[in-house]
Amino acid sequence: MATSYGPLSIWAVIVAGGLATFAIRLSFIHLFGRVDEVPPWLERALVYVPAAVLAALVAPDFAPASATVEAALTPELLGGAAAVAAAWRTEDVLWTVAAGMIGLHVARFLL
């Protein structure tokens, strides 16, 4: 899954993403006094951003290539299931990644 973008494109993403992120961080710290608070509608929407974005990010990584049971039962899916179980119990990044990696390699060995 190595990128085929050249250095210029990648640096452009890094700089643009960095500037945008800095602008978000600075926004109210800089503006305070002119704007008192986040508009309520935005605040409500932001509550659901982490769940929605993270789910949209991971889902394609685990989605089966076709709708048969055989195709669905991939080592990635089993590793992901182990990770979800670990995340549920521990809410810890380290344990979640460890469980997922172990699950992946055990499943690759068994399947």
Binding site: A2, I29, H30, V38, A52, V53, L57, A87
Partner: protein, 252 residues
């Protein structure tokens, strides 16, 4: 400038130390995943220095590795980091008397963890008169996390380049997303947001420019708001109407 370390700065550094258990593996993954996705070591470390926001960095690495459109990569970074608007607004009153340059520095090191720790301390601070010492605690947390994040990325870059591909270390990226996703799904509306976003993202996987991701996120957020409006709450007796309003993005 006083040569002694201000006590608040020391407190901030000390309070940041337990967080490193969660930060270090995250930073290692950011370094490993960058080189696995075909970024150069310098680009991978540059991403950590310039963006300095873990989940958005992994999202960018993931999308670059899939050759998503560059605009979608940047837009995804923005969406993932939008939550920091809330942090910025919430912490801004404590920084209002600082110079513009110091405020810019404070903004640069704003993270989930620095925000959460500093707000807890400042909100408990009865003495609202003395604002001048205030950024030291925040900067103690923020700079500690910054240094460890950069060091962890460098170690990950070196380590990631040295291990064989068959170890599949790149798989750690979606695993980190799962580690962040599960605690973010704390009630029925956020579960609905996640499920709908995931379904739309999968169905839209064939759309050009990886647009399924953005469409999925937007529809997911709309679903969460709609469920909240419809009064859907989880059944385990949380009568407080959003009383368990724990910050979903906060890492422990």
């Amino acid at each position: 400038m006083d040569s002694r370390v201000p006590p608040d700065l020391r407190d901030g550094i000390r309070d940041a130390l337990p967080l490193l258990l969660g930060i270090v593996p995250f930073a290692l993954v950011a370094g490993v995943a960058g080189v696995e996705a075909g970024l150069s070591p310098l680009q991978t470390v540059g991403l950590s220095v310039v963006v300095f926001a873990g989940a958005s960095q992994l999202a960018a690495i993931d999308l670059l590795g899939r050759d998503a459109a560059l605009g979608v990569v940047v837009l995804t970074v923005v969406v993932v980091n939008l939550r920091m608007l809330m942090y910025s607004a919430s912490i801004a009153p404590y920084f209002r008397e600082l110079s513009a340059r110091v405020r810019a520095g404070c903004a640069y090191v704003l993270t989930d963890q620095a925000y959460a720790l500093a707000l807890a301390r400042y909100a408990g601070d009865r003495d609202r008169g003395s604002t001048t010492r205030r950024p030291y605690y925040y900067l103690g947390v923020g700079l500690t996390l910054w240094v460890v994040w950069q060091a962890g990325t460098v170690v990950g870059v070196v380590f990631g380049a040295a291990v064989p591909d068959s170890w599949r270390l790149g798989f750690a990226v979606p695993l980190v997303f799962l580690a962040l996703l599960v605690p973010a799904v704390s009630d029925a509306p956020s579960l609905g947001a996640a499920v709908v976003a995931a379904a739309v993202a999968v169905l839209g996987a064939g759309l050009p420019f990886n647009a399924g991701l953005i469409v999925g996120a937007v529809v997911g957020v709309a679903t969460g708001i709609a469920l909240e409006n419809a009064g859907v709450v989880d059944g385990d007796g949380d009568g407080g109407g959003g009383g368990g309003n724990a910050d979903p993005a906060e890492g422990h």
